[in-house]
Symmetry: C2
Subunit: 215 residues, 2 copies
């Protein structure tokens, strides 16, 4: 009987932890990590701020977990695109387009994940997840070089370069000044422009044949 | 007389500030931003910790200023290389090689500047300086497209991609695990490998003619 009570309490704890993380993600998606305050979050969840600290030691730990969950989802989605059927170049193109489109449709969240200045705990996760992205690209490049549709290259370095190029191409267009320009109707980049420029840059960089360019 | 005294005190203040920043940079170069503690720094400078706080409100502000000074020096050096005489491709190559070599010879400092998880104030400076690097590349790409040695491309996006690719290519080889491998004699990347891979990736990406590759 005591055992059951403990189990039920653990379930409730886990459920509350999930609810906290959902609310935290919603805050970051709406206002970046800057909007993730322990007090505001406790209000959203409907619990006392002290109860939050029973689940997370502080904002850094909480932010790092929100980051890791959101990033893992992006890694999974990219992995699906890069491992789908099709030629290497087509899959790289599809993966990049999907990544850019997903970022574009959650601009605040994407900027928060890629570049928002935030606790060192999140920076540590950023380094970890960039390696996860690089691993996916390395797998595809390896295949492309083996079947001869990409030029020979040091795979891990090219994969890292791709990750850096993608992140940096998106940081500008997703950044607060660009968002402000868009919202006030001033001229700003469109998803299609960024996406196409990024695809062209990356395909050229890894030595893929670009059908639209003269050889 | 009173005026002169004030002036002399201001000079001494400025001089001390410079000395603090020099010692702070030496600490970061030796052990990253993690080694930049207010107490350790005060000991290096030979002043009381309280006196440090008369010059810098806290570690974040101090770290941001150390970052900005070191980065500005790198921006200046890269600018010189990219604006030197020679063809666009040769200057891009020279700039990338120099950047990688400088990073390689101050690995800890370079990793601290590019990627060490640290205060948000430094992250803000990172975003600013990446724009400065991108501005230099944009200038060169513009020239290359105009004279017809680079393919047409959206210049600011390509420049951002270059900055991201460079940073990410160096993060891995400069990171603490890679450093540990090198120090313990395990196989690790050499500067020449990283540098050449980076140059090839970037030249291809911006559509430069690569003389060593068949067309």
């Amino acid at each position: 009987m005591a055992y059951r009570t403990t189990e039920a309490r653990q379930d409730r704890d886990l459920e509350l932890r999930e609810r906290i993380l959902d609310c935290a993600l919603a805050r970051v998606a709406a206002g970046g990590f800057a909007a993730l305050t322990m007090q505001g979050l406790a209000e959203d969840v409907g619990i006392a701020t002290g109860s939050l600290y029973r689940h997370f030691r502080g904002k850094g730990e909480l932010a790092a977990e929100v980051f890791a969950r959101a990033s893992q989802h992006e890694v999974d989605m990219l992995g699906q695109a890069l491992r789908a059927p099709g030629s290497v170049a087509a899959r790289l193109t599809a993966g990049l387009e999907q990544f850019a489109a997903r970022a574009w449709h959650s601009r605040r969240l994407a900027f928060a994940l890629i570049a928002e200045p935030v606790d060192p705990e999140v920076d540590e996760q950023r380094l970890r997840y960039r390696e996860a992205y690089a691993g996916l690209f390395a797998e595809l490049l390896e295949e492309g070089v083996q079947v001869g549709v990409l030029r020979q290259q040091p795979i891990p370095l090219s994969a890292a370069c791709l990750v850096g190029a993608i992140a940096e191409a998106l940081v500008g267009p997703l950044s607060p000044p660009a968002r402000a320009a868009r919202e006030s109707g001033r001229p700003s980049l469109e998803l299609a422009d960024v996406s196409q420029a990024l695809v062209t840059f990356c395909l050229r960089a890894v030595g893929a044949h670009l059908p639209t360019e003269e050889q």
